[in-house]
Amino acid sequence: MSAFRKSGRGMVDASKPVNFTFDGKAYQGLQGDTLASALLANGVHLTGRSFKYHRPRGIVGAGSEEPNALVAFDRGEGRVTPNVRATTLEIFDGLKAESQNRWPNLKTDIGGFNNIFSMFFPAGFYNKTFKWPASFWDKVYEPFIRNMAGLGPAPKSSDPDVYASVYGHCDVLIVGAGPAGIAAAVAAAKKDQRVILVDEQAEPGGGLLSAQNVEIDGMAAQDWLTKSLTTLRKADNVTVMLRSTAIGYYHDNFVAVNERLTDHIPSVEPGRSREKLHRIRAGKVILAQGGIERPLVFNGNDRPGVMLASAAQTYLGQYGVAVGNEVVVFTSHDSAYQAAFELADANISIAAIVDIRDKISGDLQQAVEARAIDLILGSSVSKTSGKLRINGCEVYTASSGKKQSFQCDALLMSGGWTPSLHLWSHSKGGIKWDADLAAYVPEQANENAVCVGACNGNFGIEAALNAGTKAGGGRKKFKVKEPEFGSGVVLDHLPNYIDSSKQKAFVDFQNDVTEKDIKLAVREGFKSIEHVKRYTTNGMATDQGKTSNLNALEIASKAVGKPIEKVGLTTFRPPYTPTTFGALAGYRDGELFDPTRKTAIDPWAEAQGAVFEPVGIWRRAWYFPKDGEDMHAAVARECKATRDSLGIFDASTLGKIEVVGPDATKFMNLMYSNSWTTLKPGRCRYGLMLREDGYIYDDGVVARMAEDRYHVTTTSGGAPRVYRHMEDYLQTEFQHLDVWLTSTTEQWAVIAINGPNARKLIEPFVEGIDLSKDAFPHMAVREGKICGVPTRLFRVSFTGELGFEINIPSHYGRTVWETLFEAGQSYEICPYGTETMHVLRAEKGFIIVGQDTDGTVTPHDAGMGWAVAKKKKDFVGMRSLKRSDLIADGRKHLIGLLTDDPNVVLEEGAQIVADPNQPIPMDMLGHVTSSYWSESLGRSVAMALVKDGFNRMDETLHVPMPGTTHKAKVVKPVFYDPKGERLNVV
């Protein structure tokens, strides 16, 4: 038995020793221990170094509110979790944990020099210090700050674990399985409600687990707990979830609950989920989160061995662990007396109870006297001593000036209680100041939710049970024999004879924020509590200010000179406790992180060794390298083969929308800037779509299949937004039109055949369509069959060559592709990818919306004024095109650029200037939008948006690029076959 274990107490199993290591040293605990309770049982309080000053720190609390005892939990390669609270980490055989923020080890820490120089690290230190000179920002300051920042080891490899997620539904969700939560669950279960009860701990019961001398309806508290849990387990309308933390409360009673499934198990079979995130939609939410004890802010309050009084009570009652042999209790609240009594009754010596109040109740006084405990009223602890653990403290009585010293190995503090408002705050519930409690309590609910028990400011087990029952829909009234909860006072500053500049009184342990820092922030002009919080970083650590917020508020409100209820509380934000990214990602990991959309022909391209690129969420063949070609060589070959003979391209990703109905033409006339009235069935037209603001939104070839039917194509990435844009107008502004829209992108596979031999290739496979030049001219569409499969056959060209786009039902896509590819061997058919497609279209000056336009380009800017109908009465974007800004001189125009050195390929995005010798900042005229090596022309070509570009033809402009500035001449953006003669090969 360890030195500090009290046999026969608590819920731990004395017959089941558990071996674990902390910082490489072997220890033994018991089944049921947390790392914190097991270390305390071994007399270990020192568990870490603080964030900023590297001060030695020990265990403060006993639950998820713990600010200090953060450890790295090591489950092997790739499985180190930093900043795990030792107070919630269940031990098992072989557990490995390491302390953090220390080097070379916890007892001798080099970083401790920060503590010696702490007078140089006040609030806002980083903002004030790392400012000038600017040349130091990236070379000196950033490496220094990065080195200092962060707690614990960051993972070095990707997380090998699996995480699950699931949706949950219930009538009543209860957060917290303490007395209030359990009573609520029992009551709601009786009402045939579907109930989910969640608790972050391994054992349900909350405060009942360590309650001493409490009787509920004549039963010992633990017996009542057992009985109630049995009732709940038997009820099939109740789910009790343990090790499950409600991390966030979102709109309409949607609560995220993270369940930890395996962290407490020594060996886990591969593939088993480590955590499971439940997204629960509840009819009603009952919050029974309890309260958190407040530390006292006094000089030396962060020394290992100084802890919350209630934590000592929990360690004794739930784990059978004495936190020390010689204990001083320092309090401003009655509740700490109970802790003192329970420890005293377990034969732990209480050296003194120090109370800042001058008077306490007669009952308490008697109970103290009965145990012969030294009681010092009207006094406070003025300093503590001990290097790595407290070994004594000095008590100062302000009224007499008397100082007394006590030896101790633990100091318990209590500054009263704070109702836990975290989830209530997530739900945007209102709060009000309760002067008696000196705390904020819930007020107006914003959801169908209620707080019960301590988190509602109703402390005590009887109050919790009755409030829980009522919230669960029951009427039962409990009778509980329990120590009185009592009352307390809150001071913004504890009396001390030591000059405040020489004190180390911590408010936020985890972020090393002291009383002085908060007062300094107010002196420096930060009056809003939100600003004080951010300037001092109080409450911004991984514990979200669970123990520090109210103390900080008290100090700040006095410093600002405003009543605390006027200062307000900072907002709590999810998650309630630190949550793994794995839990949030769930199954959306690796291949499932972002789904990849593939065409029917994609597997063929993959088998051919294509290199792919992402286009939106599509993956498209980028180029098809042969015999170790690089991209440049492959693209040059693909371009040449297509222009010389025959290329085949998978264009299935083109967006497609079927526009059908008696008013289809009227609708098209409104949605596109072109006119559709004159387009005959069987013919195609390039369509330009504008937004209402007059800028180019999308483009694509549109085929009129029949009087009342259009086959619209859109850009690959634009399909969803074009569809939405059309639906929006049809359903709202153009409701009078009888038109139906259907997205058909996935229905059609599209094979583009380009090159002088295109017609010769497909002719033998086509049925029912006369392919001759006159019968099937450029920009025509026909329906028939190809390879025996129904097709919509377009004669169109995005390359400038004779071209066909073969639309076939998707599931025939690969068969038709393979048939044509096979037949194409006699023409040396060349499969090409998106890069070659881009080069070929750029040689022709065809734009890519989103590359050559950027949402601020009008049709006229792009040199496409011809695509804007002059006679239409109305279309989307028409009025905006007449806005003065859009017709003003000096707009950027899309032009071609030819570099003086034909071998130079400009960088896309490069800036363009008129005079490279102009002093900086130069006037930038625009930028390069598209730029490629053109194998057909034996030189580079580029397109660019340039201010006043149309009026700069033949002008030489300058393009600064890394190393040198290139000269380029402004030309029309059609580089290849400007007359379009190649479309007409026979």
């Binding site: 709109h251 209402e692 603001d693 939405r724 639906e727 929006d728 709202t732 109305d874 905006s880 806005r883």
Partner: protein
């Protein structure tokens, strides 16, 4: 995450099925009015939106459901939906909004 009542499906559905679509009741001027509108008036229609603190009429799209656009009244402080209604219905009166809250 909200539960949103789609007035066409007449059902509450989770927010992931919906997409926000901007302020409601901004009517596109007809062709003739467009011709007569000054740049300033057109800009008012095109670009200027209310930024109310309180009940806001806004459009939502049941994108992954029935595909319909509809209108909603939502409170910009609490984020709460007060009511939803079909496209084409006029802006709810103060009384209708008050009734919907009951």
């Amino acid at each position: 995450m909200f539960e949103i009542h789609c007035p066409y499906c007449d059902e509450k559905r989770p927010e992931i099925e919906f997409a926000y679509a901007g302020e409601a009741h901004i009517v596109r001027p007809n062709a003739q009015d467009q011709g007569e509108m000054s740049d300033a008036d057109w800009s008012q229609y095109m670009f200027i939106r209310d930024n109310v603190r309180g009940e806001h009429c806004e459009r939502w799209w049941h994108q992954h459901g029935c595909n319909m656009f509809f209108n909603a009244v939502r409170h910009t402080v609490t984020d709460k939906f007060v009511m939803t209604y079909k496209m084409g219905k006029s802006r709810p009166t103060a009384k209708q909004i008050a009734d919907a809250k009951k």
